[in-house]
């Protein structure tokens, strides 16, 4: 058998090893070796992992310049949400004061739960739609609406009616997926680096659209508490120090404008609600440039006083606004 194999394939010989061939081979293999050694030298490290350059983002300050001639807060009462929203914002100088041509505006309603509008657990779709419209009229290039919901965000945006209201008004719902969070320096007392939905870093203006709700741990969910929805990660840990966390969040995100939906008031069983008997009619929309004053004002809807809500005084101490809203320039009006 061996002889047969030999006859078949054994006798092909190498071409003569001339100097040229030999040198060529030696150079080739040496080049490979040098490449390996050089590559090894280049990637050598006494650290186990390549240090990734994760730069910590910081929030922009989204506020516009103060105008002492205009009120800080405008309360509009009535029956039609859009009219109230327009009235309240108009009193502060109109949307054109806050949104410029070509701006990308990000709206942050409270869309925490898979609940219907009537249940008062989310910002009303009427207000969100109205504000999208107002931004578009003021020349906003894009109006994005986002929230980091607690229930499935797609269900929340659908059931709350906000998804539809935003689309109809010419805005766009942006839901943050796993990849959409960027590490952000919150610079707070308890909140240091946290993942934040990237839309907040991509927007020119941010408008807070909270709702008035009862909350079992911190008494109420209002404007400052609404910033829970900017961060991802394990934010359920914030409850261990909820008042300081709320103040840290409010200090980190300074919005252009806040428009509070007080048309429906969830008075009990917050922040989820679910029972229409827990929802009271508020017939009010408030636009404000001072979140502390706004939250303080809204305590009235929930039969609370500032001494029952520690984060208000803490926020004032941090210079975020005034608890005593009556001492500020606040206007109230009634529409329709």
């Amino acid at each position: 058998m061996a002889t047969r194999r030999k006859a078949e394939r054994n006798d092909v010989i190498e071409p003569p090893l001339t100097r040229r061939v030999f040198l060529g081979r030696v150079l080739g293999v040496s080049g490979l070796a040098a490449g390996l050694a050089g590559g090894g030298y280049l990637v050598y490290s006494d650290r186990p992992m390549r240090q990734s350059l994760v730069e910590l983002k910081k929030f922009k300050d989204f506020r516009v310049a103060a105008d002492p001639l205009r009120p800080v807060m405008a309360v509009a009462r009535g029956a039609r949400t859009e009219a109230m929203a327009r009235e309240a914002v108009e009193k502060l100088g109109g949307m054109a004061r806050f949104v410029g041509r070509g701006d990308r505006v990000l709206l942050k309603p409270n869309v925490g739960w898979d609940r219907q509008p009537e249940q008062g657990a989310n910002t009303g779709p009427e207000l969100v739609g109205a504000v999208v419209k107002m931004c578009r009229e003021a020349g906003a290039k894009e109006v994005w609406v986002t929230d980091v919901s607690l229930n499935d965000p797609r269900r929340c945006f659908a059931r709350s009616g906000i998804g539809q209201a935003v689309e109809e008004a010419g805005g766009k719902v942006r839901l943050a997926g796993r990849e959409d969070f960027v590490e952000t320096d919150m610079g707070g007392e308890v909140l240091k680096a946290w993942p934040v939905a990237r839309f907040f870093h991509e927007a020119d203006k941010v408008i807070n659209l909270p709702i008035v709700k009862h909350h079992s741990l911190c008494a109420c969910t209002l404007a400052m508490k609404n910033w829970y929805g900017v961060i991802g990660g394990q934010r359920n840990r914030l409850h261990q120090s909820i008042h300081r966390s709320i103040v840290d969040l409010a200090a980190a995100v300074r919005p252009t404008l806040t428009v509070m939906d007080a048309t429906r008031i969830l008075k009990r069983n917050g922040p989820t609600g679910g029972n229409l008997e827990d929802v009271a009619v508020g017939e009010t929309v408030i636009a404000s440039l001072d979140e502390v004053a706004l939250d303080s004002f809204c305590l009235g809807f929930l039969d609370l006083t500032p001494d029952r809500v520690p984060f208000l005084a803490m926020a004032e101490a941090r210079g975020l606004g005034r608890v005593a809203w009556r001492e500020l320039n606040v206007v109230e009006s009634r529409v329709g």
Partner: protein
């Protein structure tokens, strides 16, 4: 018999095998003298290459792999029969097992297409690594031989216990027994390191060459051919282990190792097959997302996945751990145990702390010192216990009481062993003294223990020493571990 080339090679083989065993024996708490016990793992080019793909660095001692890889470019796969402890073990056993007639022996040493499999395995494992999934440790011969000795062979001799050790031992025995059917079955068929070295040896200058005029075609050279490299035909130098047996077997002096001479036969190229290579690439590419999509400690923090002190965050840890088991070997309390499926499929045989077997010794950092790839960073004792300039100790997790099983809490029986052994200062476990009226209506003074979570380092000594056997009344979960930013409970 003359002490020829074969003798020289055997001396090398025995030396390196002895070195391997020596490193294993001294990688033990009682023998530690600062030996470079990870040397074999560090000069393994496959470890270095795949860890480079997952971490984009060539970490510290892994640079020694170039000492093997670069000579391979010139001289072929000498590592396989001169250095590799698993290769030499296989060779020895194959020699021992095979007592066939010489004609059968020749047939067993002929090249078979089966031997291509190793290249496909290598391709799949390298693709995994390219996408951050380091599974090379499953089949890398050095990691495999270390792991097998550490968690199954040595414990059998030393009466140690290891989690699932018999499985590792069984697989190791199976691959050794395979030599019974084909000599060096593992090396020829499955070894991905062999495949890598084979790939890099295809341009070697020095190789086995056969003089076609002197060769009479008797086939004696096949008798001792370890690599099944067809020395009687077109020599497959990508399969050749450079054992040089063929030179000694040849009665005609037709074979030599070196540069081509005027009548040298041509060699055969690497035999892998383009279509099969493409298939292997496809398999690798499809398997990566499936592996990542399978729940593991990488995607969902698991309470029982408690990693050694200094371990990188889970994603990076999995990108560096080659499952060699050196950390388990050096651990003085044997708390480090090979995972089965606790950390997901990807985490098979990676080290976990199992606190019923041992606990993490407060002033011990040995696991990080021996880890060849720094999946466990080499940390100092100062860093571990949190002495200046380190602000915090390295936490492995947090201990939780199970008040339904705790003697003072559930049965009004004094105990407080956990508090006694807690190594932190101040102690993370503290107690409240209470007086209770038991069933007999006699006053019992009890100390009821609590954990202060921000002081607990998760060392597990409380769980280890808890007198409630089986499920302890205080148990460590991974939550609060320093290495993870997500696996936390406190703000």
């Amino acid at each position: 018999m003359m002490f020829g080339l074969r003798g020289v090679r055997r001396v090398y083989g025995v030396f390196f095998f002895a070195l391997f065993v020596f490193f294993l024996l001294v990688t033990d708490f009682s023998h530690l003298q600062g030996y470079e016990v990870g040397l074999f793992l560090q000069w393994d080019p496959l470890t270095a290459l795949s860890a480079f793909f997952t971490s984009h660095t060539l970490y510290a001692g892994l640079v020694f792999s170039l000492v093997v890889l670069i000579p391979t470019l010139f001289m072929g796969r000498f590592f396989c029969s001169w250095i590799c402890p698993l290769g030499n073990l296989n060779q020895f056993l194959g020699h021992l097992f095979n007592r066939d007639r010489p004609s059968d022996e020749y047939e067993k040493n002929r090249y078979r297409p089966l031997y291509r499999i190793k290249y496909y395995l290598l391709i799949i494992l390298i693709i995994f690594a390219g996408f951050g999934v380091l599974q090379i440790g499953l089949l890398d011969p050095i990691a495999l031989v270390y792991r097998s000795w550490i968690v199954s062979i040595l414990p059998a001799l030393e009466h140690g216990v290891f989690h699932g050790g018999v499985l590792v031992g069984f697989l190791f025995a199976a691959l050794l027994l395979a030599n019974r059917f084909l000599p060096r079955f593992w090396c020829r068929t499955l070894c991905p390191l062999g495949a890598l070295l084979g790939f890099f040896s295809q341009w070697s200058l020095w190789r086995i060459r056969r003089d076609v005029d002197k060769c009479v075609g008797c086939g004696k050279c096949l008798y001792g051919c370890q690599g099944a490299a067809d020395p009687d035909g077109r020599v497959r130098h990508t399969e050749c282990f450079v054992c040089l047996n063929c030179i000694e077997s040849c009665g005609e002096g037709a074979l030599h190792y070196g540069l081509a001479r005027p009548r040298s036969s041509v060699g055969a190229p690497l035999d892998a097959g383009r279509r099969r290579v493409a298939e292997s690439i496809a398999v690798g590419l499809l398997a990566v997302p499936m592996l990542k999509g399978s729940v593991s400690a990488r995607s969902v923090a698991a309470a029982e996945v408690i990693r050694p002190p200094g371990s990188l965050p889970e994603v990076d840890f999995l990108a560096r751990c080659i499952k060699c088991g050196l950390c388990m070997r050096v651990c003085p309390t044997r708390v480090l145990q090979p995972a089965l499926l606790e950390a997901g499929l990807e985490g098979l045989w990676t080290p976990l702390l199992m606190n019923r077997i041992g606990y993490c010794e407060h002033h011990c950092v040995l696991c990080g010192q021996v880890c060849p790839t720094a999946a466990i960073r080499p940390i100092s004792i100062q860093e571990k216990v949190g002495v200046k300039p380190f602000p915090d100790p390295v936490r492995l997790g947090t201990a939780f009481f199970d008040r339904g099983r705790c003697l003072p809490w559930a049965m009004d029986v004094p105990c407080i062993v956990c508090e006694e052994v807690c190594p932190t200062t101040p102690k993370a476990i503290w107690y409240e003294t209470v007086e209770v009226m038991g069933r007999e209506k006699r006053k019992v003074a009890l100390k009821r223990p609590f954990v202060q979570p921000d002081l607990c380092i998760g060392c597990g000594i409380c769980e280890n020493k808890c007198p409630v056997s089986g499920l302890a009344a205080i148990r460590v979960s991974s939550v609060g571990e320093t290495r993870s930013r997500e696996n936390r409970m406190l703000l």
